[in-house]
């Protein structure tokens, strides 16, 4: 990420210099930094609620039951994560919440899963293959019903705002498949190149 980050910033400043837009940059910097904090703090409510509910579901054996259902699939996707690892339960909760389109709940579960995976990471600070794959899947849209887009279409006067459902499902499936495949294949490449290689780990 370090390399991409510096490249984004440096090329932006260079372009601004060439186009005479330097005057806009200071404002954009202050604005973006502020928005990052507002957003993080804004997430605290939902993070607290869903992490609390997840603990309740855990104690009641619900997470375990859900994880057992999804085990055949997840063990194949994440062979290096133990089937009884707490990370498994959190990942299952995240993926189910994603499918249902509960973005507010998916994020806390995903965060929890990442923290649990990090506890088992032999190389803390560097993503494991499981963490990379899990994140890549989350960057592809897993939700079955894109509610916000359907609402936008309804607002724009579409007669059948949900008529994009089938098309969206197919396109999402392609994106998720590519996310899994490329995370698996690129993982091999990164491993071959050594733990600290390409661009500080992208």
């Amino acid at each position: 990420m370090g390399f991409v980050w510096v490249l984004l910033i440096a090329s932006s400043v260079a372009v601004a210099a060439a186009r005479g837009r330097m005057g806009f940059l200071s404002g954009a910097i202050a604005d973006s930094a502020g928005r990052a904090v507002t957003l993080s703090i804004g997430l605290v409510g939902m993070l607290s609620l869903w992490l609390g509910l997840m603990k309740v579901a855990e104690r009641a054996g619900l997470v375990e039951a859900l994880a057992r259902l999804a085990r055949p699939l997840l063990c194949r996707l994440f062979p290096e994560v133990r089937a009884d690892s707490p990370a498994m339960g959190a990942m299952v909760m995240n993926l189910s919440a994603n499918l249902l389109g509960l973005g507010n709940a998916a994020t806390p579960f995903g965060v929890k899963a990442m923290e649990e995976l990090e506890k088992e990471n032999p190389n803390p600070g560097t993503a494991t293959d499981a963490q990379a794959l899990f994140c890549a899947m989350n960057t592809a849209s897993l939700q079955l019903v894109p509610a916000s887009v359907i609402a936008l279409r309804a607002a724009a006067g579409a007669r059948q705002p949900a008529d994009i459902l089938g098309a969206t499902l197919i396109a999402s499936a392609c994106a998720v498949a590519v996310a899994i495949l490329s995370a698996k294949l690129l993982g091999r490449l990164y491993r071959a190149a050594g733990p600290a290689a390409p661009g500080g780990g992208g």
Binding site: S148, S182, Y190
Partner: protein, 178 residues
């Protein structure tokens, strides 16, 4: 019909879970309230923990847009993407989607308003927005919370997934809506 079902599901899902999980736990004789508080206490810690990576990513992306670099990139790739079946009005969606969820919905709303929800461009932005995610944001939050700074293959894999989603959207919209 589908619409009524969808609306019912999205209205019911969260309340049913918020009531159902504690109720089930109570029946299983779990000490519900202490368990809830124990889990919820993590919320603030996680929220604070993701501030540094989010600031880093938001500032970089804010600069990228304010500097005109995004427009320059759009002008650069427009001839190519137009030939691949992406109209000029939809191109901003392709470029903005991995960077900002809010901006992507803004682009979608704009195209739907100006060209109509049942136009080719309207279908294209809708399917694109619905089949991909805000890659940079997701990575910043998830890796940030875990304290991971080397993302390895996650970023290229996430961006490839976005590309696949866009390419599939073009093909599927052509097949379904002409």
């Amino acid at each position: 019909m589908t619409r009524a079902v969808l609306e019912a599901v999205s209205a019911w899902a969260v309340p049913v879970l918020v009531a159902g999980i504690p109720l089930y736990a109570l029946l299983r004789r779990v000490k519900v309230y202490p368990a809830f508080l124990e889990g919820a206490r993590e919320g603030f810690r996680v929220g604070v923990r993701i501030i540094p990576p989010l600031v880093a990513v938001f500032v970089a992306l804010g600069l990228f847009r304010a500097s005109g670099a995004l427009e320059a990139l759009a002008a650069l790739v427009a001839p190519l993407t137009e030939r691949l079946g992406v109209p000029a009005s939809v191109l901003p969606m392709v470029l903005v989607r991995p960077l900002s969820g809010g901006a992507a919905l803004g682009v979608a709303g704009e195209v739907l308003r100006s060209e109509g929800a049942e136009s080719r461009a309207g279908y294209l932005v809708s399917v694109m927005a619905g089949s991909t995610e805000t890659t940079f944001y997701v990575l910043a939050v998830y890796f940030g919370a875990a304290g991971v700074s080397r993302y390895r293959q996650a970023l290229p894999a996430g961006l490839l997934a976005d590309l696949a989603g866009f390419a599939a959207s073009v093909a599927v919209v052509r097949a379904f809506f002409g």
